[in-house]
């Protein structure tokens, strides 16, 4: 999969604070890319470099294989975390204005807006002032403003904040639809459940550096502890030294539940063989770390060795 965006060794220095310190990452075309990190890690600084609001002090960024140029602005759609529109302006006029700033002609903008207004069933809003709309409605308008010029790359900073569940789903479906059409989406968020659900690639920025990156599977593999969750009836007497029982309890349904870790090169089949000989299995599955766990672990400093070597 070719990369739509490549960030190479980008450094951004503000007075006494280094916001980005040699950041490199690749965003594959057509992916939903999660840009994660705690507050103040440098996500916004990176986004501002990609959107050409600021320029990097060192390093460079390639969009579709080309160094960033002012014309690239029209291929990028950006939804900032802090939403804002001209409050007194009419919805239609405002969107036409923003579309024209992105390089569309008034006619093109009009045609594209008509499609979106129909899709979101908001035709009656055209002549309303922004200040007369509810916060959720304003967010919808802002989303339309971000995507209406059909950019190749869409950057969404906390896109779901301020949406009720119905509208959040609507936006989620739009994001997936855009991805299916070939648009790449960079998705900056703290909400790990949406990362879990949507992202296929991630990069985790912490203290101005990328500390974790790759596809969903790669990242999760790195954080796997080779532990398995087992539910069973009966009594588990003992297991060979290759297997360690991390925890055990009896759940609400009076079923035993244990977490068992494989030590060294012990095989899963050997574990299952041992279990079957002693107890009646109800379920057996591998413990795959959630992004939430990974985030806390990585940022909290407990970075497994193979990860820290990535730095």
């Amino acid at each position: 999969m070719p990369n739509i965006l490549e960030v190479h060794d980008v450094v951004k220095q503000y007075a006494s604070h280094r916001a980005l310190d040699g950041v490199s990452l690749n965003v594959p075309k057509g992916s939903i890319f999660g840009l994660l990190g705690p507050n103040g890690a440098g996500k916004t600084s990176l986004i501002r470099i990609i959107t050409q609001i600021t320029a990097p002090d060192e390093g460079y960024v390639l969009l579709d294989g080309e160094r960033l140029r002012p014309e690239h602005i029209q291929h990028i759609g950006y939804l900032p975390e802090e939403r804002g529109l001209y409050k007194k302006m009419k919805v239609g006029e405002q969107l036409l204005y923003l579309a024209q700033l992105k390089g569309l002609s008034e006619r093109e903008a009009m045609d594209k807006l008509k499609i979106w207004f129909k899709k979101f069933d908001i035709k009656t809003w055209w002549t309303k002032s922004i200040e007369d709309l509810s916060k959720g409605m304003q967010q919808k308008i802002q989303f339309v403003a971000t995507v209406m010029h059909e950019p190749k790359l869409i950057i969404l900073d906390e896109p779901f904040s301020g949406f009720d569940p119905i509208n959040a789903n609507l936006i989620k479906d739009e994001i997936l639809e855009l991805r299916d059409k070939g648009t790449t989406i960079i998705f900056s968020t703290h909400r790990m459940e949406s990362v879990e659900e949507l992202c296929d690639h991630i990069a985790l920025i912490h203290k101005s550096q990328v500390i974790l990156k790759g596809s969903k599977k790669e990242v999760k593999d790195q954080f796997k502890e080779h532990s398995y969750s087992v539910r069973y009836h009966g009594t588990l007497e003992s297991l060979p030294a290759d297997f360690e029982i991390i925890s055990h309890k009896i759940d609400d349904e009076q079923v035993n539940k244990a977490n068992i870790r494989l030590i060294g090169n012990a095989s899963v089949n050997a574990l299952v063989g041992n279990l079957i000989s002693q107890v009646e299995l109800v379920s057996f599955h591998e413990n795959i770390p959630s992004f939430n766990d990974i985030f806390i672990k990585a940022v909290g400093g407990e970075i497994p060795e193979e990860i820290s070597s990535l730095r």
Binding site: I53, P56, P80, R83, Y97, L101
Partner: protein, 447 residues
């Protein structure tokens, strides 16, 4: 360039469509016209006052026939004790009673005026003048000067001024007309720069506090956004100026034709007739004074035409744009750096100072249009727009205007550059209290 134009267009349309703009634009000429109308009305109205009768008790006997009745006052000489006259006066509210004692020549302060209500200063002044003049005449003729000499000595002096133009021909000029034009132009410029400069600052602050700035700035370069906004507001200013010009001209012309001169002349004709019936002498006097007034008006109009109106107009537009660009870019930088009105205050003050100083310098320069203060303050870009506009109606050498214009262009290019450096950093800076040290750092930030 396309983006500058798009920003300009939005800025212009949003502002021009605002109710406050429409109201201000329509109301101001109406107010001016109303003001004008009231003056005319007052002038015409004074002829329509109710007739007053002023009774005179002249114990000295010196003033027989000296108080002359006119269109709205009748003088009536009565005799008899003052107490009776006072009693009668109470019943006739409009009337006045003047008492001149017998020993008026020795005691000029003995004149007394009575009224049922108050006495207007004009009335008092008029009576005092008549008495004073008469006493003077009597004393002069006692000293051997004939009545004829006294009358001839009452001359009106009204100097006509001329300015020598390049061909050495004289051209009628009027200092008054230049003064009025200079002051009006300077003041208008001052108001425009203040109002529209602050307008730019408000606009920038609004975008920042709305947080739309980040969306816009990801499509438009900060410099383009700033310039688009500044030029858009300038276009609004020019539109307003133009509309005011057209409306003021239209409305005042309409007022004049409807209520002004026609009625003025009509009233005069009626008055003339009345006067003729009362006293042929009086009519002559009145006609004389009317033609005098007309002459004054004509001379003023002529000398106003002698002013370099086209030059004034062109220079006004140039200095408006130059001065406005100079200041509004600084205002834009402030708007970008602060988050609320209070914070803005500390930064706007040093900017307003030279603007306010310039109207002060303009006042001084108008009295001495060729002085060295006038020269220097009309060269320094921060004061030149207002001061130069005050000087131009008096005639300023072409090289001075050219130099001042060049310096102004250099000035606004400089402030715009400076402002843009601060602006691009400021608009994305939140939650940080800025000071001058911080601002000066921003100027040197990269990218």
């Amino acid at each position: 360039m396309r983006n500058i134009f798009l920003v300009l267009k939005r800025e212009y349309l949003v502002r021009v469509r605002k109710k406050s703009f429409i109201v201000m634009t329509l109301l101001t000429p109406l107010l001016i016209a109303a003001f004008y109308g009231i003056i005319i009305w007052a002038a015409v109205g004074s002829f329509n006052n109710e007739r007053k009768t002023i009774q005179v008790i002249d114990e000295s006997g010196l003033f027989k026939n000296k108080f002359k009745s006119d269109a709205n006052t009748t003088f009536e000489f009565i005799s008899g004790p003052i107490a009776t006259a006072q009693k009668q006066l109470k019943d006739k509210e409009q009337n006045l009673l003047v008492f001149i004692p017998a020993d008026i020549m020795d005691r000029p302060k003995g004149v007394q005026i009575y009224a049922a209500k108050n006495i207007g200063p004009m009335q008092q002044n008029r009576i005092e003048k008549i008495v004073q003049q008469e006493l003077r005449n009597i004393k002069l003729s006692k000293a051997g000067i004939t009545q004829q000499v006294i009358e001839e000595a009452n001359m009106n002096v009204d100097a006509q001024t001329f300015s020598l133009n390049d061909e050495g021909k004289t051209q009628s000029s009027s200092t008054i007309a230049a003064y009025v034009a200079g002051y009006a132009a300077a003041f208008l410029l001052y108001i425009f720069i203040l109002i529209y400069g602050a307008g730019v600052m408000q606009g920038v602050m609004e975008e920042k506090s709305n947080r739309i700035i980040e969306v816009i700035i990801s499509s438009v370069k900060p410099f383009h956004l700033m310039m688009g906004k500044i030029l858009g507001v300038a276009a609004v200013g020019l539109t307003q100026f133009l509309l005011w010009g057209i409306l003021t001209f239209g409305v005042t012309t309409a007022t004049q034709t409807l209520f002004g001169f026609n009625r003025f002349t009509a009233t005069q004709e009626v008055l003339n007739k009345q006067a003729e019936q009362a006293d042929p002498e009086l009519k002559k006097e009145m006609e004389k004074s009317q033609s005098n007034t007309l002459n004054t008006v004509n001379t003023f109009m002529e000398s106003a035409q002698s002013l370099p109106l086209a030059q004034i107009f062109i220079c006004f537009i140039f200095y408006f744009l130059g001065g406005y660009l100079l200041y509004s870019s600084l205002y834009a930088a402030i708007g970008a750096s602060v988050e609320n009105q209070q914070e803005a205050g500390q930064f706007t003050f040093p900017i307003m100072l030279p603007i306010i100083a310039s109207i002060f310098f303009a006042q001084l320069s108008i009295n001495q249009p060729d002085g060295s203060l006038a020269f220097w303050t009309s060269m320094i870009p921060f004061t030149s727009p207002v001061v130069m506009m005050a000087r131009i109606p008096f005639g300023v050498p072409a090289w001075e205007i050219a130099l001042s214009m060049v310096l102004l262009v250099v000035g606004f290019v400089g402030t715009t550059w400076l402002a843009a450096r601060i602006y691009r950093i400021g608009i994305l800076m939140y939650g940080k209290k800025v000071n001058y040290k911080e601002l000066s750092k921003w100027i040197f930030y990269k990218g």
